[in-house]
């Protein structure tokens, strides 16, 4: 793993910052929710207490002793702020609720009730596609026509049967059935109750207005089809069952409005969870708004709200745990989902207790999204900052690591090439002036190299020194032997002296080989350049080698014309000595050594080719180094890895170079020395 990658990974750990931010935001959200819960609950408690002190203004005089039962014809009456026009349309009522289905036998009908302080409004939709008009001078008890029967309970509890029917759609009045003296029934108008009959494609609609002073707490109603005799609704003769009107308490909404702040909705429900009064409004964001405002990372931070119950959307009643708890006498708060989205709603309910009995509850609702917005704003900020910080950290880490990698790369390259192929050691390292660890490493390298250099220098001069220092003792031994022989020794002692001489000679040749490189270096310093014929030198030298190495076959190839060059022929001769010695050592017994001189560009190329074993490739480039010895064979003469080094020294003195390679065509090695013309 590269340093760059490692640092990048380290830099990426700064991503833990946004994560920690998320955790913090979640906790913050929880805390905020709890505090919102507490404050809303406290507000609900306060309102409940306040309301319990003025019970009549809250509950009016409705009788809640029986549970609200739509199937028995119980009606919830919404409260209206303004008197709507009687026109068969309910759009001007401003009530979101859909009409409630009436119990039906063969006729579909739906009803919606609402009231102002003075009137009760009824809105009825009847699915009766065939209009059967009321005949003029009808006999209501016998004639069949489309009609809606109404049974009103008067304030004194007596019943007032009425019906709504018409010969032609439009504004109509209610009618009652009266019996004339002859027992024939007639319809008599009841002008205080007006309605508008609107014929539609599906049937008809009826919008009726009944003064509140004609009305007790119950109304029964039944739509009757004039042709099919289908019915919908009830006409209850029983004054104790069904038909009750559950009205919102007039003025309660305004009263509630004085208690609440903005963005809060207060609802008072009775024991049936029916709304008695509502004040305030909620602003619940649409899902899209939230996403746009909160950013994509909302999904990473938002608490899981999917287990929250959905907000009930019934327009006339509230449901849910908090309401149920409150109605059973316990204050309670609950979080709800306002829809399928993230939008949340807090509902806090407090029981309204009057004289030790729970009469209803105050429910305060508040959007949870204010919280979310608060959280999101903080979080967006946090996210942006930490992402910026991360990006910055990654960029810096990348930059620093690239820089460090480059420096280390430089150092590595310098270390790789510190010891050159010709055995020279470069002592200066890049980066060594820096004060940091890489600088220290570079300085360490420098120290190492300088020691290596000293060591190498020592080794390089060791041969020369040894051959010089050993010369005097060797001379002592030899001159002593000379003396010994001159003094006259016995014949049986002569053998020892002869052997001692042989040893001395061998020692001398060893010392000579050991000091060869330093002698060549010495003579290179003093060498004089002359113009000479390289071809001539080669030919006469090879003739000499044939005498010197009678067992080797040495061929020579040269260009036909003289090859003049400027150089030191003695040195070239030594170079040739070494190459030929080397070739003779490695050449196979019946092999041929080829000395080939060719013109190469502006200079010459001298190749000595043998057919010995190939040279291992890893050794090829090092052959010409000082003190490099690679020999598999064993022979008597000592080898110090100086022969080919001398070849290189001489080649370089002439501005050329020496290389070794294996033959491509057959086994064997080629040593090529180039001499550019200088």
């Amino acid at each position: 793993m590269s340093i760059r990658f490692q640092l990048l990974v380290i830099a990426l750990t700064t991503l833990v910052l946004p994560w920690a931010g998320c955790q913090y935001a979640r906790e913050l959200e929880t805390t905020l929710r709890v505090s919102q819960e507490n404050s809303l609950q406290a507000a609900a408690d306060t309102i409940a207490n306040a309301l319990s002190a003025q019970a009549p203004r809250v509950f009016g005089d409705s009788d809640d002793s029986q549970a609200f039962d739509p199937s028995q014809g119980d009606l919830y009456v919404y409260s209206l702020h303004n008197e709507p026009l009687l026109d068969g349309y309910r759009e001007d009522w401003g009530i979101a609720a859909e009409p409630q289905e009436l119990p039906s036998s063969g006729l579909g009908a739906r009803i919606l009730a609402a009231a102002t302080e003075r009137h009760l409004f009824l809105y009825l939709e009847v699915d009766d596609s065939h209009f059967t008009p009321e005949p003029s001078d009808a006999h209501p008890e016998k004639d069949q026509f489309d009609r809606v029967d109404l049974m009103l309970q008067r304030l004194d509890g007596t019943l007032n049967p009425l019906f709504l029917a018409t010969g032609a759609p439009g504004l109509i009045e209610a009618q009652s059935t009266v019996k004339s003296d002859d027992g024939v029934d007639h319809a008599a108008p009841e002008p205080r109750i007006q309605a508008f009959w609107l014929q539609t494609s599906r049937g008809y609609r009826l919008e009726a207005r009944i003064p509140r002073n004609m009305l007790g707490s119950r109304v029964w109603l039944e739509a009757i089809d004039g042709t099919g005799l289908g019915r919908a609704g009830f006409i209850g003769a029983d004054a104790l069952r069904g038909g009750r009107l559950f009205m919102a308490t007039p003025g309660l909404s305004d009263l509630l409005g004085t208690f609440i702040g903005p963005d809060t909705r207060a609802t008072v429900v009775d024991m049936n969870s029916l709304k008695l009064g509502v004040a305030g409004s909620l602003t619940i964001n649409k899902d899209e708004d939230l996403r746009a405002a909160g950013g994509w990372y909302r999904r990473f931070v938002a608490g899981d709200t999917s287990h929250w119950p959905l907000q009930s959307s019934a327009p006339n009643r509230l449901s849910g745990k908090s309401v149920a708890e409150a109605l059973s006498g316990h204050r309670s708060a609950q979080w709800l989902r306002a829809g399928p989205s993230q939008a949340s709603l807090l509902s806090a309910a407090a029981p309204i207790v009057i004289a030790g009995r729970t009469h209803g509850a105050v429910v305060l609702e508040q959007s949870g999204d204010q919280l979310l917005e608060l959280r999101d704003r903080a979080l967006t900020h946090l996210f942006n900052l930490t992402l910026l910080a991360t990006a910055l950290a990654v960029a810096i880490a990348f930059g620093v690591s690239t820089w460090i990698s480059l420096r280390i790369g430089n150092l590595r390259l310098a270390a790789d090439t510190a010891v050159t192929n010709d055995g020279q050691i470069r002592l200066d390292m890049p980066e060594s002036r820096r004060g940091d660890e890489i600088g220290a490493l570079a300085r360490g390298f420098e120290r190492l190299l300088s020691r290596l250099n000293e060591h190498t220098q020592y080794l390089r001069t060791l041969g020369g020194k040894l051959s010089h220092e050993l010369r005097t003792p060797l001379t002592i031994v030899r001159s002593s032997l000379d003396n010994l022989e001159s003094e006259g020794i016995r014949a049986d002692q002569q053998g020892y002296v002869t052997r001692a001489r042989e040893g001395v000679l061998r020692l001398q040749s060893i010392l000579s080989a050991l000091g060869a490189a330093s002698r060549v270096e010495e003579s290179i310093k003093q060498a004089e350049r002359v113009r000479f014929d390289l071809k001539d030198l080669l030919q006469s030298a090879v003739a000499g080698y044939r005498d010197g190495f009678p067992r080797a076959r040495i061929d020579v190839q040269t260009p036909p014309d003289p090859c003049f060059m400027h150089g030191a022929p003695d040195l070239i001769l030594q170079l040739l000595d070494k190459l030929i010695e080397n070739a003779v050592d490695f050449c196979s017994p019946a092999g041929t050594i080829l000395v080939r001189l060719t013109r190469a560009g502006a200079g010459y190329e001298l190749a000595v080719i043998n057919d010995g074993p190939p040279i291992p490739p890893n050794v090829l480039s090092r052959l010409f180094e000082s003190l490099f010895e690679h020999r598999q064979g064993q022979d008597d003469r000592p080898h110090f890895g100086l022969g080919l080094y001398i070849v290189r020294l001489v080649a370089e003195f002439h501005g050329g170079a020496a290389i070794a390679e294996n033959r491509a065509d057959s086994p064997g090695a080629v040593f090529v020395v180039s001499f550019p013309l200088i």
Binding site: S479, S480, D482, N483, S486, E487, Q508, D570, L573
Partner: protein
């Protein structure tokens, strides 16, 4: 001890100045065996004191003497100041010093590396004495070899080129002598070494030949009578 048969009273006196006692004693023993009277000195100071009192007939001087790296050169200069004729042989431990000796023109008659064998040393000493004797005798031209502008007096070991004397050391003289006696014949290094009564490595022969050429070229810049036959040796061309 009396092998050569010199009269003891007439025995030639040789001074050896050499700081290495073992070598000094070996040289002394060998020369004494040949009938010479040998005095040995370990350093320049003691040698010079003795020379001031009494000059030897021949001096063999090591170049580096104890702590004086070139004490031999100084000694040679001082000795030469005392006598222009006394033969002086330099002994060197290093090949490179040969060049220094020739460059300094200290008037040494010969210089040898310490590789020289004792019989060779004896031959040289004898040759130098012979030359002294020849110089003291009246001229007889019987030993003179002439090769074009070159003339060599084998007895006096003197060489001249176009009549101008060439001052060669004993080794150099013998090399030239060996080459010029048979012009056109290639003498290999071994033959030259044998002729010069010396055991040297190839490089030293090369540098001797180089120096000989240089000495002739100082008289005649066009001198090229000594030709290198690469890989074989040298020959004299007329």
């Amino acid at each position: 001890m009396w092998a050569i048969g010199y009269d003891p009273a007439m025995r030639k006196q040789i001074a050896i100045v050499e700081d290495e006692p073992a070598l000094r004693e070996n040289y002394a023993a060998a020369l004494a065996r040949q009938g010479y009277q040998v005095k040995t000195y370990g350093n320049r100071k003691s040698a010079m004191q003795a020379f001031d009192a009494h000059l030897p007939d021949l001096a063999i001087i090591d170049i580096s003497l104890e702590d004086e790296a070139e004490g031999g050169f100084d000694l040679c200069r001082e000795l030469r100041a005392l006598s222009a004729e006394i033969p002086i042989i330099f002994l060197t431990a290093r090949d490179s010093e040969l060049d220094a000796v020739s460059g300094l023109r200290l008037g040494a008659d010969d210089f040898l590396t310490k590789d020289v064998s004792l019989p060779h040393l004896g031959a040289r000493v004898a040759a130098l004495f012979r030359r002294i004797d020849a110089l003291r005798r009246p001229d007889n031209a019987s030993q003179i070899v002439r090769r074009g502008p070159l003339s060599i007096d084998g007895d006096k070991m003197q060489t001249s080129w176009n009549g101008a004397p060439v001052t060669l050391s004993l080794t150099e003289f013998w090399i030239v002598h060996a080459l010029a006696r048979n012009p056109g014949h290639v003498k290999n290094r071994q033959q030259l070494m044998d002729a010069a009564n010396v055991v040297l490595d190839d490089n030293t022969i090369t540098s001797h030949v180089k120096r000989v050429r240089r000495k002739f070229q100082q008289i005649d810049p066009g001198f090229d009578a000594i030709q290198t036959v690469y890989g074989m040796g040298y020959r004299w061309v007329e």
